[in-house]
């Protein structure tokens, strides 16, 4: 048995979520990684350290490489005959997995938070805001395609190394691969990032208006915390998308997550409920966020946050 993992570059090397998937895959089987990015020695070494035995370095693919990457992966399936093809559930991961599913005519299971190869392959995922765990088994022919939510597994080096590297140039895909990227805009905030900050302070609709997001930033500063947001206020244009925590945004697992003016919609809970500790401030005592909070303050964040900021500044 072997597992093929699709991995993409993020910030110079293999993305953290890809390394999580490779670590998990390597715990059950030999792993081949199809890596889309700069095939530097450092990148290949990193992939090996987390469990990749073989690396297929995918080169090219144009501005929107999903169609071409799916084409190349379909070719690798014929050579490797993997039992499963795993993807981190990133933007590109979803785009490639969807297209590959069609090419191979195999179903894909999304939102996996667990994976089991004891008998065939089964996938666990969460529904109803994480209140129920569903186990789904593949019942058809291999390979099984699975999209794995970031932070479902921890990325741990195994001390291994890559024994075989091959470069594959991505094929032309005609009209499907023809879009042109004419500009790339980076909105990434300075300072602590959602992916690795110990503390995250997030705001939602309860802030009332875009200007009140400054209250979130003020509390975050003395805590050296990253700032996050719900889909509602990102959609409303109050803060950039890069701050979104939840199903369509980032999955986070900080030491402390402080939810301010966030009701706790399912779409948000799935992105943060596995935080080690959760504090919630909300006016509505019935808000679902309180069901996952270790400390809940029923009150007006416009009162609580400035006083909290003040107190933290005095201590800092």
């Amino acid at each position: 048995m072997s597992i093929l993992v699709f991995a993409e570059q993020a910030e110079g090397g293999p993305g953290e979520s890809a390394l999580e998937v490779i670590t998990k895959a390597a715990s059950v089987s030999p792993v081949a990684v199809a890596y889309l990015g700069d095939g530097t020695n450092a990148a290949i070494e990193t992939l090996g350290a987390y469990g990749a035995g073989t690396v297929y370095h995918l080169k090219g693919g144009g501005d929107l490489p999903a169609a071409a990457a799916a084409h190349a992966l379909a070719g690798l399936v014929e050579e490797e005959t993997p039992q499963a093809i795993l993807f981190a559930q990133t933007y590109l991961g979803r785009d490639v997995a969807g297209r590959l599913a069609v090419r191979l005519d195999r179903p894909v299971i999304s939102n996996a938070v667990g994976l089991d190869f004891d008998e065939g392959c089964s996938v666990t995922s969460e529904i109803f805001g994480g209140s129920r765990i569903v186990r789904t088994a593949f019942t058809g022919p291999t390979p099984y395609l699975v999209l794995i939510r970031p932070k479902s597994f921890s990325a741990e080096p195994t001390g291994g190394s890559v024994t075989r590297t091959e470069t594959r140039t991505l094929p032309e895909t005609g009209h499907a691969g023809s879009p042109r990227v004419i500009d790339k805009i980076v909105e990434r905030a300075e300072g602590p990032q959602l992916s690795d900050a110990k503390v995250i302070v997030s705001g939602g609709r309860g802030l009332g208006d875009a200007e009140s997001y400054a209250l979130i930033e003020a509390v975050a500063e003395p805590l050296h915390a990253a700032t996050g947001a719900t889909r509602a206020i990102v959609d409303a244009g109050w803060v950039p998308y890069a701050k979104q925590v939840g199903q369509t945004g980032k999955t986070v697992k900080p030491e402390v997550y402080m939810a301010c003016g966030i009701s706790g919609a399912m779409q948000h809970l799935v992105g943060m409920k596995n935080s080690k500790r959760i504090v919630a401030i909300n006016k509505d005592p019935e808000a679902p966020i309180f069901s996952v909070a270790d400390l809940g303050i029923v009150g007006d964040l416009h009162q609580v946050l400035p006083k909290l900021t003040e107190e933290l500044r005095t201590r800092a």
Binding site: A101, P107, G140, R180, Y241, V256, L295, I297
Partner: protein, 252 residues
Amino acid sequence: MQVVVCVKQIPDPASPSSLDPASHRLVRPPEQILDDTDRYGIEVGLQLGEKTGGSVTLVSMGPTGTMQGIRQALAMGVDKAVLIDDPNLIGADALTTAKVLAAAARREGFDVLVAGVESTDGYSGVVPQMMAELLEVPALTYARKIEIAGAALRVERQTSAGFDVVETDLPALLAVTAGAVEPRYPTFRGIMAAKKKPVDRLTSDDLAVGGDPRQQVVSVAPASERESGVIVADDGTGHLRIVEFLETAKVI
């Protein structure tokens, strides 16, 4: 410009959801509503249709029930509905769903095929990409702003770092995020007009899509609950409770 928009009727998320104990499938009451995220796709479709003098058709798979959600879409201004309500498709996975919707879209003909990034009830988030592959068109997923640029479309796509501005020739698929546009509300005139709009009904046979399910839910269990926390009303010292909590957590 001919636009086809994919929409889905879902159980009202404001009501408690439940699973059928035998099949583990989501219980779908007859009075399902339009998935809120689809209102954005419909608005994108309507604006593209209006700017180019084109038509907008919706395709939808699933139990039609009272048609509340479909009627809402027609009342917003969609010209025609194509519905695939087939018992053979109950419990269909994402790939089967994509095959059905893509076949219906192909049958109607389109320059732009619009869908939401993911549904609120199933959220597999791969149906648009699958449709694009089946139809051999570009997929501009996570689209948050759409403009017509001559014969092409110019689209802002969300990325993990910010966004890309991308241009594509047609035909193409757009998977739009909530927030791409401000969806309109149906007018009284629109609601009246919706009653006379054409509604086609197709089966999986009409679209030549079928096949046995290849995945099966084997168990559903309650998640391990977090230990219930302390909930206090703010009496003016709520901030001190938080400071104390942060100290215990050793982050200050």
